[in-house]
Amino acid sequence: MTLSLYDYVSIGLQAVFTAHPAFHVLGVPISMAVVMLVAGLLTGLIVGAIPALSGPFAMAVALPILISTFGFSAAALLPTLAFLLGVMKAATLGGSVPAILFNTPGTPDAYLTTFDGYPMARNGQAGKALRVAQFACVSGDTMSDMVLITTAPFLAVFVERYMGFPEKGALIILSMAFIGAAVGASAIKGLISAVFGLFLASIGRGDDQTPRLTFGIPDLANGFSVTVAVVGVLILGEVYQAIEDLAHQHRSKTSPSPVVDRGDQKLHWHERLALMPIIGRSGLIGITVGALPGIGSTLAATLGYAIQKRRHKGAVPMGQGAPEGIAATEAASAAVSGANLIPVLSLGIPGNVAAVFILIAIDTIGGLNPGPSVFTLNQHELNPELVMVIGVFVIMMLGNAINWTLGSMLMRRLGVLQHIPPRIMMPLVLVITVAAIYLQEGKMTSIYFALGFGVIGYLMRKMQMSGLPFVIAYILADDLERLLRQGFSASGADPWFLFSSPLAVAFLLASVVVAFTMSRNPIGKTIIKNADPE
């Protein structure tokens, strides 16, 4: 039997829609993957609409629960990824709701949506503003997913064909240098954050019989779990910081006046067509930014808005309720999410926080090893990884379709979540995170370690060091060390093996150039200024 791409797509569709049914409706099986996708989309919309929370918060809390629930079998991967991808997709959409209705961005990248969204709502056009945001957000997301589906396989094949141990090692070093230099207030501090992550990741793990750098503590024999380190630094560090801010905050007694709809709130087809070029341009900006590791949706939204402002010819000036402003911002920030998965699926290198949690899920559950093997079209024997990744692509497109319909029905109703006070949310997030870590790890020591990593994350924020380079380095540390060990052995113990090919030398030179010039030129300064804080 010969398996064609059509067969693989067919099996991938079956894996999403019919495998492992959660329940039946009129005799039709509803698969667990679809149920989890809808649950993830709803969760993402809700957390995105609550100003104190964000998509990565929900992903961090949900990941241990999902892993504990579905286990480590290949069948667990699609439902787990479906939930996480649903959260990732819908959080951006949810973030625009309080930005438009209450002038309060639900997520950092929705800040620019307030510029035109809230004035539109004040002018009685809240319903239309929300529809513009939804149209732009889902369009940008869909564009981005299509680029992911068509690009990732070619990138993975290129990596396999032209890269050996030295090139792959040098590429990881380049990615970390870029992330370290691009994120946070200073390139040197970003790099320190990355190297500190590499060092802590080396605790416990190694090839010797005796675990290294453990002080003889048995609980450290396998090192700190990736979930514990990542959730601690990124999520708990942020929670501690938020609690401190809330404790010091003198809360303003004034609240934005309620918005009232006046006139036609529909977004007609001619209006959608007029927005399409803006969405296309911003979508391309978001895709380009998203494919680069470490920068994220805030820069994409800023660039999308700035370019639209320069080219704007609409009836309403930008900043005073122009739908084009909302479309430019939302399309750019939404287009980051799919493109961010290009380096994840083709190289195993995460580019932003959401991608970090997707990669942790893939690594923890197993059954899918990001890289060229995923995209190998094996004609004589079924490649389960290709089926799985086709399933992931199907889930992403299905998520977009649900966002088109479910999103528009729910967005206006989500405005009520604005009234949940962050001072209650933050302590609860802390307790839920503690419970989630215990569910996955099953040890109180894991909770202690996570809370300790939270203190590290808090102190890093105080010193204006980003935690993102730390966690990405922590995740990649094992791969990097393995590649360096194998490269050294394969070269016959050549200490200069990393410089043995022109491509590896080019990557290493680029690492040095990025690290030392990023903060010294106008483009680099713009990237650093607008990079996501985490």
Binding site: I65, S68, T69, A185, S186, I188, K189, L191, I192, V195, F196, L198, F199, S202, G206, D207, D208, Q209, T210, R212, L213, T214, F215, Y240, I243, E244, L246, A247, H248, R423, I424, M426, P427, L428, L430, V431, I432, V434, A435, Y438, L439, G442, K443, M444, I447, Y448, L451, V455, Y458, L459, K462, M463, Q464, M465, A477, L484, R485, F488, S489, A493
Partner: protein, 195 residues
């Protein structure tokens, strides 16, 4: 302290940590060296990676020291937004750690201590292990520890302790416990997996 001084301090901490790790921690806590000879082959040892990262950390720390040393002092407005750890931050962190420790001690030991107490008073209970899957014992540690943590943090944020906070925390933590426990029967709440 100015932002420049904080960066200088951070750089010095990195250099000191790297030196300590390279000369004390790694040699005493890694069984193999940087390079090892195995069956006539030269391979990378377990000490290579941490040593290399420490060299990089030390070099970056030194670079931070030099760039901070050479930079001009920032304007006063920039100091307020620059890197710094104030006495208020330290006080907050100390209070937070205290609350975390108290809450986790309660979470870990409330159930076993209560069972031991009841046993000592003559009640018909044996040990916590045999009760940890039964209501109310399976929720006890998590609810007591979680309520203490949430109520404590609410009090920290609002600057005062109120009965309303405790009630709110209790209800919220019970709801969380039920949400986790009811659909996921096989996943024990903290600390029941280990006791």
């Amino acid at each position: 302290m100015s932002a420049r001084s904080w960066n200088l301090a951070l750089g010095l901490v990195c250099v000191a940590f790297a030196l300590l790790a390279v000369f004390v921690w790694i040699p005493h806590d890694v069984s193999s060296g940087v390079i090892v000879q195995e069956r006539g082959q030269t391979n990378v040892g377990d000490a290579m990676a941490p040593t290399a990262w420490c060299y990089a950390l030390g070099a970056l720390g030194l670079l931070l020291v030099l760039t901070s040393w050479r930079s001009r002092p920032a304007a006063k407005s920039a100091v307020a937004s620059g890197p710094r750890i104030t006495a208020a931050n330290v006080r907050f962190l100390a209070l937070l750690i205290f609350m975390l420790v108290v809450s986790l001690v309660l979470m870990r030991y409330a159930g076993p201590v209560l069972v031991a107490l009841l046993h000592a008073l003559g009640a018909n209970v044996t040990d916590y292990r045999s009760l940890r899957d039964a209501i109310p014992w399976k929720y006890l540690g998590f609810v007591i520890g979680g309520t203490t943590l949430v109520a404590g943090l609410l009090a920290l944020i609002e600057g005062r302790i109120r009965t309303r906070q405790i009630l709110l925390a209790l209800i919220a933590v019970i709801v969380i416990a039920l949400i986790v426990d009811l659909p996921f029967k096989h996943l024990p709440l903290p600390p029941n997996n280990e006791l």
